[in-house]
Amino acid sequence: MIPSRGAPGMQKRIIEFLFPEETDKWLAVLRIGLGFLVTIYTLFLWSDWHYLFASTGKGLLSRQLGEAMASFDSPVIPKLGWLVTLGGYAHIGEDAVLSISWACLLSMGLLLLLGIFCRQAAVIAWFLHLCAAESGGLFAYGADNFITTGLFYLMLSPLPDRYSLDHRFLKIRLKDASLFGFWRRVLQVHMCFVYFVGGLAKCLGSGWWNGSNLWLSLTRPPFNLISPDVLVRFKYALPIIGISICLIELGYPFFIWIKKTRLIWLICILAMHAVIGLAMGLYLFALVMIVFNLAAFGFGMSKGPTVATDAPKVDSGEQHPNVSGLRRGASPFHG
């Protein structure tokens, strides 16, 4: 919370940290990346979509069971069952509703990719993806939560960006630069939480220090894409890689903010996710993390491009001499 009295210096630093002026490049990366992710998410699940989300007795499990479990947390969490009920009023069957939902989600992914009706597409994509993730809650894994989070931030972000067709052809004005900065900060801080917690939890397990967890992760189905015989050849490297993963993740919230170490940390974390994706078959998970990292700390962080926005500058009472990246004094680790 911003203290209003007694600490004007602190208030200024918090404002500077939360509302740096930024370009919209990162938002374009997030939009295009999430558009691509939503598109491949729907395409990958096409053959099993009905099987996963059908009602009791028709599919692999039961959509109603997942929805009942989500309703235990809260009855107002969106679910595919809402759309099926709605379709029932219009005499549209369950199969047709599921097909329409799938087609809509695919269309929203493509619209986000191109930047057409960005805000509407982001809201609908978030809603439909959330419905699918909650109705299939028993089948969900980490990538689903990250996609929901990404779409949640995207729909609240100051869309459109300059690379979207909305801006180029419909001439929709860009928003205030400090708003771009705020939402990038949200994503940046979120990534710091993700890696710090992930790194800390790994450090608390003995298996990450002696390489056994890495061995087990890479040999357990369905992640066993590499032959164990190949892994055995690199057995002396496994503890080093395991410890490196712990340190890279745990150190992320510190070293990613420091200009000198940012690039190397970013490269390490991107390489880690690329290897996870290729070696374990977690393509969607790897892609979502790569997109988040590129949007949060990749584009426009190391150099200082000029902020160009159509919107009149909002008087924040602050001066922003360096509009890109983290200014001295804006880091949470500066006093």
Binding site: I15, L52, D73, S74, P78, T148, G207, R220
Partner: protein, 205 residues
């Protein structure tokens, strides 16, 4: 642009909740004794986990608007679970084997399956969840539905025994000595056809 105070307030509340979710996840691991930390910390971790649960409204009644409001927000933002992936240690994976008994005495083995690799990953995630104590109340109904999915493809089958268990992979030294995976059954259920319906008996070894 709306007041920066509103944005700042949302930022604080959002990350406060995320911190509570993440803390609850970490404290839960420590409280379960699955970390390298000394066991004397387990009691403290359990208390800290309860504090985090209280912050998230989980100690309130199921119909509490505060609890439901927080839960809805967490799900909407995709932050209802922490980020303790593949940590602190990697457990064995889980397998559901179905013994299909035909009227002529033939026995076949199968397991629930999906078409695509993306869905196969989700099926593995479901099986790992079933082993979790928190999912104990829904285990039987989930297994029954998975059995039904296979039964629909083979309506002539008269009885199905579903055996769920953990598969422990060998460590690298054991693998080098030629040891393979080992299967430890956790529970099993028998399902049989009874006039158009199924009858089930649970066997928990």
């Amino acid at each position: 642009m709306p007041s920066k105070r509103i944005y700042a307030s949302w930022f604080t509340a959002h990350f406060f909740l995320l911190a509570a979710v993440c803390a609850a996840g970490i404290f839960s691991l420590v409280a379960q004794g699955s970390t390298i930390l000394p066991s004397t910390l387990e009691g403290c971790a359990h208390k800290a986990e309860l504090v985090a649960a209280f912050i998230l409204g989980k100690e309130a009644g199921a119909s509490s608007p505060v609890r439901q409001g927080i839960a809805t927000y967490l799900h909407a933002a995709g932050i209802q679970t922490g980020y303790t992936f593949f940590a602190p240690n990697i457990p064995g994976y889980h397998k559901l084997t179905l013994e299909l008994y035909y009227p002529d005495g033939t026995v076949e083995y199968d397991s629930p399956h999906v078409s695509g690799k993306a869905a196969a990953l989700r099926l593995a995630s479901l099986l790992d969840r079933l082993a979790d104590e928190r999912y104990e109340p829904v285990r039987e109904v989930v297994v029954k539905m998975l059995v039904l999915s296979v039964w629909r493809e083979r309506p002539e089958v008269k009885k199905v025994r579903a055996i769920f268990g953990t598969v422990s992979s060998p460590d690298i030294t054991d693998f080098e000595h030629g040891r393979g995976e080992s299967f430890q059954p956790m529970f099993s259920y028998d399902f049989s056809v009874r006039e158009g319906d199924t009858h089930d008996d649970a066997h928990i070894p």
